[in-house]
């Protein structure tokens, strides 16, 4: 079976699953006549029904539901097998790129390119398998499959089961299209498609207004990034006349790096990067990711940890030829990456919701990946993406299992002492926390350490970036183990009812946890640092595997001066900081549990600032949402959401204020002139009205008079 030619089938399997769910989903999983939480509480009382609680009672479900739990994960499993087959066959090929073009999707018309030549605005529905997309499809399908299995257990008691799996499969379809696309236009299709699925999945509990608000926020903020992305695509069209990655790389191959200031190449690269910040939640456009925790936990695991958010990193790596020619933009990417890393890590310190901590940790880790890409070490960025997918997905699924055990409780302050009650979840999350902290032997250590080394040694990197990265490593270790100690150590702070109900998750949830835990450990060993030269070649497989993807120009940049001793020293330092972070967390949250609160008061404005996410949401609301209109009268202090009431997204209220003005303008001024003309005509008609007396003979007389005048005039002339 020639898997290489069948790569266009890989995305179609999940699509088949999704379409199946949309068509016969309701028959397989008949929904109750009206789900309990559909009604407003006061309406429910009025109707004499009990107001539905989320996880309260478990409605009975039809046996055919089990069919769904076989179909959807099944399709992802088939994609996984096909991907493995394709990658293995790709490894056998001499030159590592295989392109399958189905048909010309967007067959546009000729247009004038930048240099006056006439190119054709065309993009085809084509799939490209090369080492980079090989890694990505393996990650997406492997992690995706286990998350599907996990959600069978997690979503077992939810209504809308078919809808959840339909959206999940649709997401995997769009993600695979994004990763396998052979040109920017098709990549953009996957790009917006995953944005749509994240909107659908975040807003899965659509009876909750906060969930649908978060969904819209995610979609609109992503759309802001996509707008820049579209402009970037047009720039590429103008530069090279085509959008196929291979052709673009070839076209750019000849050009020399743009050293003189911010040229066209840098602008294109920057536009693409702005698109990436929207999708991968970097500094300006990251506000949607923490709110995206409104969605069910498997969604956070799949979309907001392993796959979708990494699309931005993949896209930057994919256009490495372009970025390596634009050192200005590389610097921007690296600095934004580093800034996001440290900024998100600081916020994670003070978060009490377990999923919010993980969300900020994801934003921080993505910052690392962009830092790596920014300093030219693209393979390291992808390697960190690879390892991050495992342990972050595991952390999310673990927190899902904790929440499942605690009956929906997400606030860490009401948890504690779960170590012996849910042992498997504890051990798997412990492994993941060690990995993310960067303890040697675990995946996180290898990838993060490589990033720090590249930040130090690469010509694009700088000592400042390395310093920021290392401090963030310390903070990451601290907040991760703060989470672990607060949830699993100490005595259980939950109320009696939930405490009685704590139970270990069923095997359908714990098995994926253990597999991902194994992944979190083994994944790291693929990209062992060069300093450990004593290990056989296969341990450097990852860098070697991605080698052919990088255009030569980018390649030398990745090497940098290679002093083994220096690398050992830096590695030692980062390990030391990681262990220190864990010990501080242990000290604060296990030995002296009362200490953190005292520090919080002592730290004055710092702690509340951290607790409220540096007031970023409030600043956004104030600047964009509330608009400048109320500036004068309002005190600058905190708003609660009730006052803003549906401030939909960052730009919500200002646009609503602007639209109110334009609405008023439209109805009064523009429409007003039209009504004015009508009124004027009415006024003129009054004097004329007196002639109409209704007296027939008078009309005849007037006619005769007219005739007389006419005749007279004619005679005189």
């Amino acid at each position: 079976m020639n898997f290489l030619d069948a790569i266009w089938l890989i995305p179609l399997f999940p699509l088949f699953g999704a379409v199946l769910m949309f068509l016969i989903g309701r028959r397989l999983d008949p929904q109750p006549e009206r789900s309990p939480e559909a009604l407003e509480p006061e309406l429910a009382e009025a109707m004499g029904e009990d107001a539905g609680q989320e996880h309260g009672h478990h409605p009975r479900f039809a046996p055919t539901r089990r069919l769904i739990s076989w179909i959807c994960p099944g399709t992802v499993l088939v994609s996984l097998l096909f991907s493995i087959g394709a990658v293995v066959q790709l490894a056998g090929l001499a030159e590592k790129a295989h392109q399958v073009i189905l048909y010309t999707w967007l067959a546009g018309l000729p247009f004038h390119m930048g240099d006056g030549a006439v190119g054709r605005f065309a993009a085809d529905l084509g799939f490209l398998l090369d080492p980079l997309s090989g890694v990505m499809i393996l990650v997406v399908t492997f992690v995706g499959f286990f998350i599907h299995v996990y959600s069978i257990g997690y979503m077992g008691h939810e209504t809308g089961y078919y809808r959840f799996f339909g959206y999940l499969n649709l997401f995997v379809f769009f993600m695979l299209t994004l990763v396998l696309a052979n040109n920017y236009a098709l990549l953009f299709v996957g790009w917006e498609g995953v944005g749509l699925c994240s909107y659908l999945l975040i807003g899965f509990y659509f009876h909750r207004k906060s969930a649908s608000d978060a969904g819209i926020k995610a979609f609109v903020v992503n759309r802001i990034g996509d707008a820049a992305f579209i402009l970037g695509i047009f720039m590429i069209f103008a530069l090279t006349g085509t959008v196929r990655f291979l052709d673009v790389n070839q076209a750019l191959h000849g050009l020399s790096a743009e050293t003189a200031g911010f040229g066209v190449l840098s602008l294109t690269a920057l536009l693409l990067f702005v698109g990436a910040t929207g999708k991968s939640a970097q500094i300006p456009l990251y506000v949607w990711l923490p709110d995206a925790m409104e969605g069910p936990t498997p969604v956070s695991a799949l979309i907001h940890a392993a796959t979708m958010v990494t699309a931005g990193v993949y896209m930057v790596a994919r256009s490495n030829a372009l970025y390596s020619l634009a050192p200005e933009t590389m610097a921007v990417v690296a600095t934004i990456g580093a800034l996001t890393a440290i900024f998100a890590a600081s916020i994670a310190f003070a978060q009490n919701d377990i999923k919010r901590v993980l969300a900020y940790s994801t934003v921080s880790q993505l910052g690392y990946m962009f830092l790596a890409a920014g300093v030219g070490a693209y393979w390291v960025a992808i390697f960190h993406l690879f390892t991050h997918a495992f342990f972050k997905a595991l952390l999310f699924l673990g927190s899902g299992s904790v929440i499942h055990a605690m009956g929906g409780e997400q606030d860490m302050r009401k948890m504690g002492g779960l170590k012996d009650k849910i042992p498997t979840t504890f051990w798997t999350m412990a492994v993941a926390s060690l990995a993310i902290a960067g303890i040697p032997g675990f995946a996180g250590f290898f990838s993060k350490d490589e990033i720090l080394w590249q930040a130090w040694s690469s010509p694009y990197g700088s000592k400042a970036l390395w310093a920021v990265g290392t401090v963030t490593a310390l903070m990451t270790a601290f907040y991760m183990w703060r989470l672990m100690y607060m949830t699993f150590w100490g005595e259980c702070r939950a109320d009696e009812h939930t405490k009685a109900h704590i139970h270990e998750s069923p095997p359908v949830m714990t098995v994926p946890l253990t597999v991902l835990a194994a992944g979190s450990v083994l994944a790291g060993w693929l990209g062992v640092p060069k300093a450990w030269a004593f290990l056989p070649g296969s341990f450097h497989a990852f860098e070697h595997w991605l080698e052919p993807v990088w255009v030569a120009a980018a390649h030398e940049a990745g090497q940098g001066a290679h002093e083994a001793a220096l690398e050992w020293a830096l590695m030692g330092l980062s390990v030391l900081l990681a262990v220190a972070g864990i010990l501080i967390a242990r000290y604060l949250y296990v030995q002296r549990p009362e200490l953190p609160d005292r520090i919080a008061e002592a730290s004055g404005p710092l702690y509340p600032a951290l607790l409220n996410k540096w007031y970023v949401d409030e600043i956004y609301n104030f600047l964009f949402v509330d608009g400048l209109a109320k500036g004068g009268g309002r005190v600058l202090g905190r708003f609660d959401q009730a006052i803003v009431d549906g401030g939909v997204n960052g730009a919500g209220w200002m646009t609503r204020f602007a639209s109110a003005v334009s609405g008023w303008w439209d109805t009064w001024i523009v429409d007003g002139t039209v009504r004015l003309i009508a009124f004027a005509v009415k006024m003129i008609s009054y004097p004329v009205r007196f002639l109409q007396t209704g007296f027939v003979q008078q009309y005849a007389a007037v006619i005769l008079a007219g005739m007389a005048v006419a005749l007279g005039y004619y005679l005189i002339k």
Partner: protein
């Protein structure tokens, strides 16, 4: 029979109308059945147009010419090219769907209602087929009358105000357009000594630039009111909110396209120097961009569902006019495709409001909430229409907007930068509308018992859904149909455009690449 195809397509609805008038008005069922048959026949008759249309032929096809008023030099002159083919197909499809959708919506004077609709069908098809200016003007006026009655008789509470405003507003515009036509007509006579209204003859008139500008402004007023472009759009929300569902579907899907079609068929080819004149182009593009952003902003503050969709059409058509006045092949082709997409997606959005209006008889968004619990199929169709309108890839909206933005980008990068914000605002007001009506909990007891879509409503939505998906996934035939007419337009407005350099990857070469399916090229 076959060489009079265009006349058959043109007059089938009219024939249907006459037979309808003969039916007894007491038998309501017969009237409705016959109206649907007539509309479907109109659609069937237009199918051979697509198969017989030769995509590589230059100029107009299936031309029919007969002297109409010899004294004035007016001919009964019909012809079709890529642009008018697509618009005629849109007219016949949406016409049939609109009539099918008003099956249970209309309860009084059905006979007159359906007669008005069929008359309107002929009027609209006439506008798109006629190549003689006077014939065009006659059909342009004919279309107004039935829509006036549809809004005025079967409309909502403020129907009279809306109907009169719609009628007078458009009439004022078309009168100025007539002035333009006559100037052209006499100018042609002054040069060639023969009185004629044919477009290809009038194209030969050489006019000084300032005169061309004046005629352009006269045409502009006539077409801009119809599109509607920014300052002349205030009739649209009133007309839409007061029109019955089927009326606003036809109004949005086809009537608005007559304005943009006018620009493409008359303003650009007949007045090339004026069309390329930088001052005019800047004004046009400025108005389009303002329309895109202004329309979207006003949508955000509407509480009337139909008014919101009406303003969204102002925003969408801002894209179309931007595409036209970018004067680039992609801009023009994108604009025509966007017009078809707008017909489909806004047609669906209005049908969706109609479905709910039939059940709850109110258009206020506050009245609805949490309908997804009660009407899941309806929620799915609404989501599909919303995403197609917001321009999600793999659906039709994206193809149109992407090509228009590429055309605008090629013409001037700043325009594309401004226009791109339109897709952000577009997504936000649509999603917010969807949230306020579909999601959240049901807070209004009246919403509890709403029945989901019945079979007939599915039959109304199904063709539009399939067509939207088809354009989204495989738009190649549309681009092929448009290639020749758009190339002619651009050649006429920008003479040296295509000779710059041999097209780097002509369409044929792309097909060649496509045939080498398994070539693993590095």
């Amino acid at each position: 029979m076959s060489e009079h195809l265009l006349s058959i397509v043109l007059f089938t609805p009219l024939a249907g109308m006459f037979v309808l008038l003969l039916l007894p008005s007491s038998n309501r069922k017969l009237i409705r059945v016959w109206a649907n048959i007539a509309a479907f026949a109109g659609f069937l008759v237009s199918l051979p147009l697509v198969f017989r249309f030769d995509r590589s032929a230059e100029g107009f096809q299936m031309v029919e010419k007969a002297p109409w008023i010899p004294a004035l030099g007016a001919h009964y002159y019909l012809g079709i090219d890529g642009i008018s083919l697509l618009l005629v197909m849109l007219t016949t499809v949406t016409g049939f769907i609109a009539i099918l959708s008003s099956w249970s919506a209309i309860d009084r004077y059905e006979k007159q209602y359906y007669a008005m609709f069929l008359l309107q069908q002929t009027g609209m098809i006439g506008v798109f087929l006629s190549l003689d200016f006077l014939l065009f003007y006659v059909f342009w006026e004919i279309v107004l009358v039935p829509m006036y009655f549809i809004i005025g008789v079967w409309g909502g509470p403020r129907k009279l105000y809306a109907a009169i405003k719609f009628f007078l507003y458009t009439l004022a515009g078309s009168v100025l357009m007539l002035l333009g036509i006559l100037t052209l007509y006499f100018q042609h006579h002054a040069q060639y000594g023969v009185y004629t209204f044919e477009i290809d003859a009038l194209m030969q008139t050489a006019m000084p630039l300032h005169l061309e500008r004046w005629v352009f402004w006269a045409f502009f007023i006539g077409f801009a009111i119809k599109v509607p472009m920014f300052p002349f759009h205030t009739w649209l929300p009133d007309a839409h909110t007061e029109a019955p569902t089927a009326g606003s579907v036809i109004l949005a899907a086809v009537l608005l396209k007559m304005g943009t079609y006018g620009f493409l068929r008359f303003s650009l080819p007949l007045l090339p120097k004026a069309a390329i004149d930088p001052w005019i182009v800047h004004v046009m593009v400025g108005l389009s961009i303002v329309a895109i952003i202004y329309g979207a902003l006003v949508c955000l503050m509407q509480d009337d569902w139909k008014k919101l969709v009406a303003y969204s059409s102002v925003s969408h058509l801002g894209f179309c006019t931007l595409g036209i006045f970018s004067l680039t092949p992609n801009g023009l082709a994108g604009s025509v495709i966007q017009q078809i997409n707008h017909g489909i997606s806004t047609g669906m959005l209005f049908l969706i409001v109609g479905v709910v209006y039939e059940r709850r008889h109110t258009r206020l968004i506050r009245e609805y909430g949490g309908l997804a619990h009660v009407m899941p199929n309806y929620a799915f169709v609404f989501a599909f229409a919303m995403l197609s309108s917001a321009g999600l890839p793999l659906l039709n909206g994206f193809i149109g907007e992407f090509t228009i933005l590429q055309g605008a980008f090629e013409a001037n990068r700043v325009w594309a930068a401004f226009a791109v914000t339109g897709i952000i605002l577009g997504a936000s007001y649509l999603l917010w509308l969807y949230q306020r009506t579909m999601l959240g909990r049901i807070n209004n007891p009246k919403n509890l018992k709403l029945p989901d879509l019945n079979l007939r409503e599915w039959a109304v939505f199904a063709p539009l859904l399939v067509w939207a998906l088809w354009i989204g996934v495989y738009p190649k035939p549309y681009f092929e149909i448009l290639e020749k007419p758009v190339a002619q337009l651009v050649e006429r407005v920008r003479p040296g455009y295509f000779e710059a350099q041999a097209a780097k990857a002509p369409l044929e070469a792309a097909q060649a690449m496509e045939s080498r399916m398994e070539a693993g090229i590095r």
